[in-house]
């Protein structure tokens, strides 16, 4: 029997490296003007196809 171990999503991110960013936004679109006024923090996750960022608004 062969057993393949597969890391859970985000596992590599949490364990192997620190990848945090503070994204900023600029827009003139009224529905998204709230983006101009917030501070955010993101966790980056390196993937073969490019990074995935999970972004949270700091309330």
């Amino acid at each position: 029997m062969t057993c393949t171990l597969r890391p859970r999503p985000g596992w590599q991110n949490r364990v192997n490296y620190y990848f945090r960013t503070a994204p900023r936004f600029e827009t003139s679109a009224p529905p998204y003007a709230f983006l101009n006024r917030l501070i955010a923090i993101a966790s980056g996750d390196r993937r073969p196809t490019g990074p995935i960022y999970t972004i949270n608004e700091i309330l």
Binding site: A33, R37, I39, S43
Partner: protein, 157 residues
């Protein structure tokens, strides 16, 4: 929708920085907005892993944007109680209802729950004991005080 908590991202207290400001210098309406400069006269900082004083000589280059948001751009020197120097910078945003902004201009104390004041501090140091600061992203919650500001800073884990 995934959140930072889903990613296992948490935070822990880093320090509270109290900044004593010198009188504001007004540049007025420059091409980017209304610019002013707040020199830093001093202050102090304290947290579980570091404490000391804010040296005079830094400052905050404020920009009041056309949408009423105040952008902060602070650069200061921290000196720890064991004499290490730490260069601290942050960019941040402050905004709130008109009566709060008016109260600030009168030098009044306002409940911090009534306005948004968040920053993203960064650090540079050559001191081994504090080298961990070079490698972290952090978030600050600011409070405007009549004599300056207080920033409660958390390390993002």
């Amino acid at each position: 929708m995934r959140t930072l908590e889903d990613e296992g991202i948490t935070s822990r207290p880093l320090m509270t920085v109290r900044i004593i400001a010198a009188p504001l210098q007004k540049f007025g309406a420059v091409p980017y907005g209304v610019r002013s400069f707040v020199p830093v006269a001093g202050g102090d900082f304290e947290g579980p892993r570091l404490r000391g004083r804010v040296l005079p000589g830094g400052g905050d280059w404020l920009l009041l944007r056309s949408d009423g948001v105040l952008e902060l751009d602070l650069r200061i020197t921290l000196e720890t109680d064991d004499h290490a120097l730490i260069y601290m910078t942050f960019q941040g945003l402050r905004h709130g209802p008109p009566d709060v902004i008016t109260a600030f201009s009168r030098g009044e104390v306002v409940d911090p729950a009534r306005y948004y004041f968040r920053t993203v501090p960064r650090f540079e140091t050559s001191a081994e004991a504090y080298a961990f600061l070079n490698r972290i992203v952090s978030i600050g919650v600011g409070e405007t005080r009549p004599d300056g500001a207080v920033h409660r800073i958390d390390e993002i884990l």
